[in-house]
């Protein structure tokens, strides 16, 4: 069973993401990057399914050069091979543009299942996987907290407002996972060494037959008009607890008449 993982590589968790007022895009170049922890959960699930059912796990990343470290990490975790779509022309792509790029790259692979995070940890828009499923004609099973594959049938427990639903479909399918689905493995030294020899296939927008009318800032249907800061919240007080922290809060709350 061959699995494709949409492996977004994002600014590292410690980075405070900024938007460049000139380009109105998130600043990514030169910022330390990592495999999105949410995508790592999708990859972990893919690795487990491949371990159980046999098959390959291919990670696909649309990202700038700084993404390479995250892709190598995915390979070190155990992915079979990687695809890196790298092209300045893709800068400023909106969600649908991104989905078109990923779809074009995925169409070049043989696969049974595509796994994505339900949402990325930097933009949280959460709609690229659904758009991707539509473009590829795949059955979309979303917000999975558990996945099982039996022959050609995939079954998930789908997170819901009141608990969960049991949802099933025939392969090929696209499944999005919630971050609670598993604890991703840490790459071991053996994996890190092996990753150095694994293939990262590179594509440009032209390789995918995608032009400026479909992708990048020029192809985006969504245009950012202005970037600004919200009205500042009045600064609060930060105090180090020296044994009276609880009392300080109680006093504060009493002043506010909450208690």
């Amino acid at each position: 069973m061959n699995v494709i993982i949409c492996a977004k590589v994002i600014p590292a968790g410690s980075v405070i993401i900024e938007i460049d007022p000139a380009t109105k895009c998130m600043v990514r170049k030169g910022v330390p990057h990592e495999l999105d922890p949410a995508a790592a959960c999708a990859l972990e699930e893919g690795l487990r399914l491949a371990e159980k059912h046999g098959g390959t796990v291919t990670v696909i990343t649309m990202g700038i050069n700084d993404s390479t470290i995250g892709i190598r990490n995915a390979l070190a975790m155990g992915a079979t091979n990687a695809v890196h779509i790298l092209d300045d022309a893709l800068a400023g792509s909106d969600t649908l543009g991104t989905a078109k790029v990923l779809a074009a790259a995925i169409r070049k692979e043989a696969f049974d299942l595509v796994l994505c995070a339900a949402e990325s940890s930097d933009s949280y828009s959460g709609i690229v996987p659904g758009q991707l499923a539509r473009l590829l004609g795949l059955s979309p099973l979303t917000f999975a907290r558990e996945i099982a594959v039996d022959g050609r049938k995939v079954t998930i427990k789908r997170q819901s407002e009141s608990g969960y639903d049991v949802v099933e479909a025939e392969l090929p399918a696209l499944v999005t996972v919630t971050s609670g689905i598993n604890e991703p493995r840490y790459p071991q030294l053996k994996g890190i060494m092996a990753a150095k020899k694994k293939e990262i296939k590179k594509y440009t927008a032209a390789d995918l037959a995608l032009g400026p009318d479909q992708v990048g800032a020029s192809g985006a249907k969504e245009k950012v008009l202005s970037v600004g800061r919200p009205p500042a919240r009045k600064a609060g007080k930060v105090v180090t607890d020296e044994g009276e922290g609880g009392k300080l809060i109680a006093d504060f709350l009493a002043e506010l008449k909450v208690i």
């Binding site: 938007i19 909106d94 969600t95 649908l96 989905a99 339900a118 949402e119 940890s121 949280y124 828009s125 959460g126 709609i127 690229v128 996987p129 659904g130 758009q131 991707l132 539509r134 473009l135 979309p140 979303t142 917000f143 789908r158 997170q159 819901s160 407002e161 009141s162 608990g163 049991v166 949802v167 479909a169 025939e170 971050s179 609670g180 249907k221 969504e222 245009k223 950012v224 008009l225 970037v227 600004g228 800061r229 919200p230 919240r233 009045k234 609060g236 007080k237 930060v238 105090v239 180090t240 607890d241 009276e244 922290g245 609880g246 009392k247 809060i249 109680a250 504060f252 709350l253 208690i259």
Partner: protein, 322 residues
């Protein structure tokens, strides 16, 4: 119609979702508001939608919308949109909303703006205000091209306003294409909700990874009880299985606006801030003086949550004379 705004009506736990009524109320203020109601719904659903602003409701009670995920509703929406061409279509940032908006935007080859806090109709399109990156930015975006503009709207962006009105109802046909029956819902499991509802709570005591384990949430439950409040949690904690999803606050959880938000062992990730920044007063306890939450707290205590919270509970008990 240039000011025709559609709202996708969701039914959650056998009631029209509050987010639906919020969006309808706003749509009715901005233009002509109509609702699309597909699948099982309570008997008074149509009247409720009318009361909150819908002048017309496109309706189907067909089982296909309940039994099969996403594809039947998208097919029905594509047909309706091609026929009536609303200027804007609003979805809540819910599970169903995201799935439908995503699939629909790709079907129509149109963009979709997510995480919308406010919007206006302008220049033949829509201008949306987005509290980007957890509210650290306030951006505006628009969608170019012709066709219906799809927006995913944050919970609690608008007030639901009841009015005295009735609505026309158009029964719509269920899609006949067997291809829409690809993803089947075979079972619905309800997990018991614990404690009072987060949505209406005036006081919320919330916990994050700093609580270290599920058992330590009992301390927060105790505190919440003393304060007559509800317990909330971050996504990390829900994902780790310490508390059920119903407690999750954040971009993919609930958006809350209590009078008091007590953040215990919460670092203040953008995703979480997004769901609680609107709180009137924020108190935060965290070991890490660099935790982003301190930038938003009215009172921040840098300390061990396992020392500060029990002390707070004792203080409250004392003041209550308990």
């Amino acid at each position: 119609m240039a000011d025709l705004i559609w709202v996708y009506a969701e039914v959650v736990e056998e009631k029209i979702a509050p987010a639906t009524l919020e969006m309808l109320s706003k749509a009715a203020e901005m233009g002509t508001a109509e609702a699309v109601l597909l699948g099982s719904a309570p008997d008074d659903a149509v009247q409720t939608l009318a009361t909150y602003g819908a002048s017309k409701i496109y309706h189907s009670a067909d089982a296909v919308f309940r039994d099969y995920l996403t594809l039947p509703a998208v097919a029905a929406l594509v047909t309706l949109i091609k026929k009536y061409q609303p200027a804007v279509m609003l979805f809540a940032s819910s599970y169903a909303g995201r799935d439908l908006a995503a699939s629909l935007s790709a079907s129509l080859d149109s963009g979709a703006i997510t995480d919308v806090g406010d919007f206006v109709l302008k220049n033949g399109s829509v201008e949306a205000t987005i509290p980007a990156l957890g509210g650290s930015y306030q951006n505006t975006s628009t969608l170019v091209g012709s066709g219906t503009k799809i927006l995913l709207v944050r919970q609690k962006s608008f007030d639901a306003k009841a009015r005295n009105q009735t609505a026309a109802v158009e029964e719509v046909a269920a899609p006949s294409d067997p291809a829409v029956r690809k993803v089947r819902v075979t079972e619905r499991v309800t997990v018991q909700r614990e404690g009072p509802q987060l949505e209406g709570a005036n006081v919320i005591v919330s916990g994050g990874r700093g609580l270290k384990s599920a058992e330590h949430f009992d301390m927060l439950r105790q505190l919440a009880e003393f304060m007559g409040g509800a317990v909330g949690a971050t996504r990390a904690v829900v994902d780790a299985g310490w508390v059920p999803y119903s407690l999750q606050i954040g971009q993919t959880g609930k958006t809350v606006k209590p009078n008091l938000y007590l953040a215990c062992g919460i670092s203040g990730a953008v995703q979480h801030l997004s769901g609680m920044k609107g709180s009137k007063t924020i108190v935060a306890i965290n070991k890490d003086p660099e935790a982003p939450i301190f930038q938003f707290a009215d009172l921040g205590i840098v300390g061990d949550v396992f020392k500060v919270v029990p002390q707070l509970i004792e203080e409250i008990k004392k003041r209550k004379g308990a």
